[in-house]
Symmetry: C2
Subunit: 230 residues, 2 copies
Amino acid sequence: MMKGKKAVVLLSGGLDSATVGAVARQQGYQLYCLSFDYGQRHHCELEAAGKVARSLSAVHHLILRLDLNRIGGSSLTDRNLEVPRNRVESPEQEIPITYVPARNAIFITHAVAWAETLEARDIFLGVNAVDYSGYPDCRPAFIQAMERAVNLGTKLGVGGEDRYFRLHAPLIELSKHEIIQLGTRLGVDYGLTHSCYDPDARGRPCGQCDSCCLRLQGFAAAGLEDPLAY
Amino acid sequence: MMKGKKAVVLLSGGLDSATVGAVARQQGYQLYCLSFDYGQRHHCELEAAGKVARSLSAVHHLILRLDLNRIGGSSLTDRNLEVPRNRVESPEQEIPITYVPARNAIFITHAVAWAETLEARDIFLGVNAVDYSGYPDCRPAFIQAMERAVNLGTKLGVGGEDRYFRLHAPLIELSKHEIIQLGTRLGVDYGLTHSCYDPDARGRPCGQCDSCCLRLQGFAAAGLEDPLAY
């Protein structure tokens, strides 16, 4: 039996990236999972990413350090800023303080660097534009523009055919409950994932931050129960 | 007197980035210099970057760690690969083994993240397309595509007017001797800079790698003497 092509999967440990990993595996790819230790407040995320990578039978799980906490500007990397709880969404969908400057751009460029070394051309991203709190780096126009840029600025991108590197964002137009239904069909164990921005010392999710609220609403709308204990 | 606007300057410690820093300073910017500790073979580069930042009266010099050596794929980050010496350039300008996958893309996305935190909009890059050994991430089309992408994927880029972030690459079409002549007019002390890919233990340049050869040819063509001892 022929082995599948290699894909780099950005794995945060959250619900979306676990689902996108399962999509890539179902498409027959060998998974090279990439996570970042970027000074996020809690390590539950990285532990969850490790469990998800194992559950997806990833060939390799690489965790790279990034100094984003020294850049600051986000409540996820700067301990002096508060994570908002039970936020009432403003109609114009203001970008929240949990936004990390240029985070997905930084993640994508690292994924491309690793893909180039592996001679992989497919990069899977769990970004989601619909109900992801208005982050600009989760929108289709940004992903398309990054794909174009990385193909112009890499050895394989320039040397190969047009669009050597492909950024796949299969969840980008799905709502949270559609993502959960898709992952459930593909056998994702959401009990391994971590979504909370502000867990307690034992890693238990708060149930009140934007990310917990979206997740809980998603499970409710999907008619499924979240396996996590809140 | 009004203080100048802030600019983020990518400073490698080399000749090009020292020159671009001097260009930004001459245009009245307050300089926020950014360098990376990315597992390059030698630390002379970062020492040189510090000296250049001081000579430019930078407001701040931030050095961020990157795990590029764990990605590999380049003789600059992987000690198992050899740095080529006295290379005869092939007519099709093959991309050399000193190419680091997606390096400028990674550097630019970090610079944008810092600029967003500083509320700076101008980012100065020392990239040079003419005689820079054929790296794809030094070409104008790549820089333009990255500018477009980062403006689509950031809070200030999306929220502000069109093209909030500007990637300035004023050396991109200059030859090495034109860069040296420009920097000399602006008072750059090239004795502080470091270009060699493969210096000896005391940090002295080899005079034989691609980077040393380009530098020496540039000084010769400019009719100037390189202040470094080879």
